[in-house]
């Protein structure tokens, strides 16, 4: 192996972070927010006493968790234009870019994983809390919103954040639909300048530093929460 070319990294680092990392971080944050909201609703549906509702939510979650993320990305990439046409009442599939497709994919996919976490969180709250809510005259949504979910959410914060670190790493798979995330941007430079070793090593180091730092923060948070409890 001839000399490691640091210069190609120095020249492209602005592009990598300005275009690539912005895509990656924005996608992660939107998918996290959407995924937790949708996932919590799914968890409530799974725990519903109405059989049809819990079966439907269970089927969705199990389907998402049984097939590879790459396949899910392809599915939505081709499916979203049809759904868009259906919503907008167009006769032809609508044009949807890689960005919107990725946002929808990761929100829908991660919702299944956040759902399982939130379900465990809700189930960890003693039943007495729910009964006391009803005894106070609160309805289902009030009991959930004011009593159960705040506690469940608080107990599950470390796991939710760990899932988000995984989500952050998994967004790199948008490479398969040629989106320019951090990895995609690096791949473009790597192929243009034929500097694959340098660019992919750099990408690995950056991902490692970010993910590892975040996981240390989560660990700290976990210890703090554990002490209070």
């Amino acid at each position: 192996m001839e000399g490691f070319d640091f210069d190609v990294i120095r020249r492209s680092v602005g592009y990598l972070f300005r275009d690539g990392m912005t895509f990656t971080v924005t996608l992660t944050l939107i998918a996290m927010t959407g995924g937790i909201i949708f996932g919590t609703l799914l968890a409530m549906m799974r725990l519903s006493s109405i059989r049809a509702v819990s079966t439907l939510a269970g089927a969705y979650v199990n389907l998402m968790r049984s097939i590879p993320l790459v396949l899910v990305i392809f599915w939505f990439f081709f499916l979203v234009p049809y759904i868009g046409a259906w919503i907008l009442r167009e006769s032809q599939p609508v044009q949807v870019g890689a960005w919107l497709s990725a946002v929808i994919t990761f929100t829908m996919f991660e919702a299944a994983y956040y759902c399982e976490i939130m379900r465990a969180g809700i189930q960890s709250i003693p039943r007495g809390q729910v009964w006391s809510g009803y005894a106070l005259g609160l309805n289902y949504w009030q009991t959930m919103g004011f009593i159960v979910l705040p506690q469940a959410f608080r107990n599950m914060v470390p796991v939710l954040l760990t899932q988000t670190i995984i989500l952050f790493q998994d967004t790199s798979l948008v490479y398969v639909i040629s989106a320019t995330d951090f990895l995609g941007a690096a791949a473009k430079v790597a192929n243009r300048d034929y500097r694959l070793v340098e660019m992919y090593s750099f990408v690995a180091v950056v991902y490692f530093i970010i993910s590892y730092s975040l996981s240390l923060l989560v660990k700290q948070l976990q210890d703090r929460i554990a002490v209070i409890r």
């Binding site: 590879p68 790459v70 759904i83 465990a120």
Partner: protein
């Protein structure tokens, strides 16, 4: 919105002329399983070793194990795939690197994919093994020492046989994860099931037939893996030894 389903496409001949599209996908499943199984062997062996040394009393071994786990856990799988495929052959001695790069397809993609998936999953196995060992009562270890066993013997005869039984359920989900994760190998050119569904979509323009077929095949495969592991669990179960588990975990 209207989509004309055309399921008969599965019985049409694929452009390569090797058979029908359905056959083409089934061969893809074969590559998926071949990759996942070979990687699973690496993952179990390395993962059991790393997970075990992280519970020993040797501080340097614990630290080394932790380092290994953190490195391979914090880099995305697809980036690791690229490292094994593009970077590792360049770092090896010239002759060996050239030999790897000149391997005929699909072996040139298959081998890096197997190593990548094996090492990636070994970290997750190591975490399970460590958790399994730590979930055993400390008395088990003391009892081993009191019987005059060395540390190695205590692990071999007391700790590990129990720990492996405890972690069978989480290992089941890891074995399904490794099948799913093998789809990332399509990015380095391995035509496994997802890669072939994608290729079929490009050749035939039948998008949803191709992906539906692949989805159904993945679901059936999962079902079979779950059933097999359940049989294994029942076989090796020790009555009264309740599985740990139950704690929610992040995953993908």
């Amino acid at each position: 919105m209207h989509y004309n389903w055309h399921w008969k496409v599965l019985l049409e001949t694929e452009p390569g002329g090797t058979g029908s599209y359905l056959h083409y996908l089934i061969v893809g499943l074969g590559w998926t399983l071949a990759t996942a199984l070979a990687a699973w062997v690496i993952a179990l062996v390395v993962g059991a070793f790393v997970g075990t040394i992280r519970t020993t009393s040797a501080h340097w071994a614990v630290r080394l194990g932790n380092l290994y786990v953190e490195i391979f856990r914090n880099i995305p799988l697809i980036v690791q795939m690229f490292l094994w495929f593009f970077v590792v052959p360049e770092l090896l001695p010239q002759a060996m690197g050239d030999w790897i790069k000149q391997m005929p397809p699909p072996w040139g993609s298959y081998l890096p994919a197997v190593f990548c998936l094996g090492i990636f999953t070994s970290v997750r196995v190591a975490e399970q093994v460590r958790a399994g060992i730590n979930s055993l009562p400390r008395g088990q270890r003391f009892a081993g020492t009191a019987m005059g066993l060395t540390q190695a013997q205590t692990y071999r005869y007391v700790i590990l046989p129990q720990a492996f039984r405890i972690i069978l359920p989480p290992l089941t989900s890891e074995s399904m994860n490794i099948i799913k994760n093998s789809s990332v190998a399509l990015t380095i050119g391995l035509l496994e099931l997802t890669g072939r569904a994608r290729a079929m979509q490009e050749f035939s323009f039948r998008v949803f037939e191709a992906f539906t077929a692949a989805t159904v095949i993945y679901l059936l495969t999962n079902l079979i893996v779950v059933l097999l592991m359940r049989i294994l669990e029942n076989r090796v179960r020790v009555p009264g030894l309740i599985a740990a588990g139950g704690a929610p975990q992040a995953g993908h």
